[in-house]
Symmetry: C2
Subunit: 350 residues, 2 copies
């Protein structure tokens, strides 16, 4: 923090808070923040009635409570003090309403994203984080195997999503991260919102899913075919498969993140589908489903051992189908290691 020029971090309920304290909490309209000074004892500013839940934090932090009728921003400004110009980091996902409140009571302070300090730490996973990521991805792989063994035709996307969610929980995940099901032409929308479309024969069926385990998310995508192949599907599938394979093989420490995108994109462009690969090749995965590093083509982030990110090229043909194949990949000293092992072969399900 001191090296980065920060005097305080103000961290609300978030994956950042979980990373720092083991407690994630959930955002609400009631101000609850860890105030972490560059040196000295931290404080937790929190609603008085929640104090019993924070007793275990008294070992390392002061508990500063505010009553339902008090101004929480006053409590915060007293903890921080307004005596000088300060640089204060606020965790990225904290609500803007709170930041505006801080800026009101601390008008001489400069506010910056706390991710400037916390982001680089979170990018390189510690051994116990890698263990959790291995486990949650293993559970996702098992869930996929069970899912495709069930009868899928005739169900709605929403119903099938619920089945997938149930399987993810049955496998031992703490929670469902997400369980997106996109059928037929819906698979051509990279971020499809599910509805009551019924899954039919001769369609692509895309699953983008993962559970959460000990705070860590899995993120895996597979595209299968129901009954028989739609026209042109196999060619597109083989291109995406080759692009994903080459991109994973390109992963190694010391290279720029952008090069992974360019490897996948090169293969897809060469095959004539460059226009149909509309998003970056991947993103970090950990305590959040999307987190740094982001693997855009122009990223100059240098890959380091312990980074975990998705590699997920796709080709989207509006009105027809889309294909995406995604694994979460760990950077090791020796290269990229897939954390997902469920089949990437072309699968025809019923």
């Amino acid at each position: 923090m001191a090296d980065a020029g920060f005097d305080f971090l103000v961290v609300g309920p978030s994956p950042d808070l979980r990373y720092l304290t083991g407690f994630e909490g959930s955002m609400s309209e009631r101000l609850t923040v860890l105030v972490l000074p560059a040196s000295g004892r931290p404080s937790f500013v929190l609603p008085a009635f929640e104090a019993p839940r924070f007793v275990s934090f008294e070992d390392f932090a002061e508990l500063v409570t505010w009553d339902e009728s008090e101004d929480p921003f006053e409590a915060l400004s007293q903890v921080i003090g307004v005596t000088k110009e300060l640089v204060i980091g606020v965790n990225d996902t904290q609500w803007s309403r709170f930041l505006l409140g801080y800026q009101d009571v601390l008008p001489t302070a400069r506010f910056e994203p706390a991710s400037h300090v916390i982001g680089p730490l979170r990018e390189r996973k510690r051994p116990e984080e890698i263990t959790a990521l291995r486990e949650v991805n293993r559970l996702a792989d098992l869930a996929f195997a069970e899912l495709v063994a069930t009868q899928l035709t005739g169900l709605t996307e929403r119903r099938l999503s619920r089945t997938l969610s149930d399987i993810l929980l049955d496998m031992g995940n703490d929670a469902v991260g997400f369980a997106t099901v996109a059928s037929g032409p819906h698979s051509a929308s990279p971020h499809h919102e599910m509805g009551d479309r019924v899954i039919g024969e001769g369609e692509a069926l895309l699953f983008d899913f993962g559970g959460r385990h000990q705070g860590y998310f899995a993120d895996v995508t597979r595209t299968v075919v129901v009954g028989r192949l739609p026209g042109g599907f196999e060619e597109v599938y083989r291109i995406v498969q080759a692009a994903q394979q080459a991109a994973v093989e390109a992963v190694r420490p010391g290279i720029m993140a952008g090069s992974i995108d360019r490897v996948a994109r090169g293969i897809i462009m060469e095959a004539g589908y460059g226009h149909a690969f509309t998003h970056r090749v991947g993103h970090g995965v950990g305590l959040e489903v999307h987190e740094p590093p982001y693997l855009t083509g122009d990223s100059t982030t240098i890959l380091e051992p312990g980074m975990t990110f998705s590699v997920e090229p796709g080709i989207y043909l509006p009105g027809r189908f889309g294909v995406r194949i995604e694994d979460t990949v760990l950077v090791t000293e020796n290269g990229g290691e897939r954390l997902n092992t469920c089949t990437r072969e072309l699968l025809v399900v019923s």
Copy 2:
């Protein structure tokens, strides 16, 4: 907007966005915002690859897209323009990372919570919103009836929460809002995080739950007893029941929100448990589970027909048990109308 002195609202994926456009979206690291000027045509600033999902908005808004390798804040500043001092409202739950980005590219603008404009609109529900709230609360009531008819002892809190979630979905909700189960001494923590505690005989069992239907949340709490009454439970239950009844009966248009809190608190204090009712009596419920009006004792908000909020006094006895009874209540011309009708009588389940 013009009356409140706002030149623009910048609204990201949120209940506010849903209220304004029918589309809620979900927050991510990729900037996606509706830019609403006080007069003139709105714009949507969004990732280029998401554009197909926004085609239906072209009737009322310009689509301004940015590519994965472009700076989205530049796109936003070009839409807004930097020619003069502006007042810009940002929706309350938008991530602070984005607000810091806006402040960087629009250094002469003043930023304020958009809730100053949107909040008062959302507080008074329109007829179709009330219809949705009636329905989602009806489904919650049905779910409670089915839940307490099942065998509860021997299950863990987490397992029972999953059962309740399944029932909420089976009833026809679009999603589970929340399904909190707090057993035994855990019921004494108003915001309990569930774990693997097994539900046993002679314990309090508190359910705080609701589904989501057409965007609107239910919020209802019931406290039951498993097998037989813990010592002192019935007395506490009767006090909470009386406080909740009196508070609901006190609801009518034209009075201050704070008076509802004071009615419930007065009864609980009179009975000697004032110290154990540690939170406000309620909060607005609608597109968010917690939203204005907040019913703290000092609230001067005047109740108006169409407002919907929880009335949920509680008594929490650490190490023993807690009791909370909560209904969502609609303000009508004639007084308060409970949207929940599942029994508030003392229920002993097995």
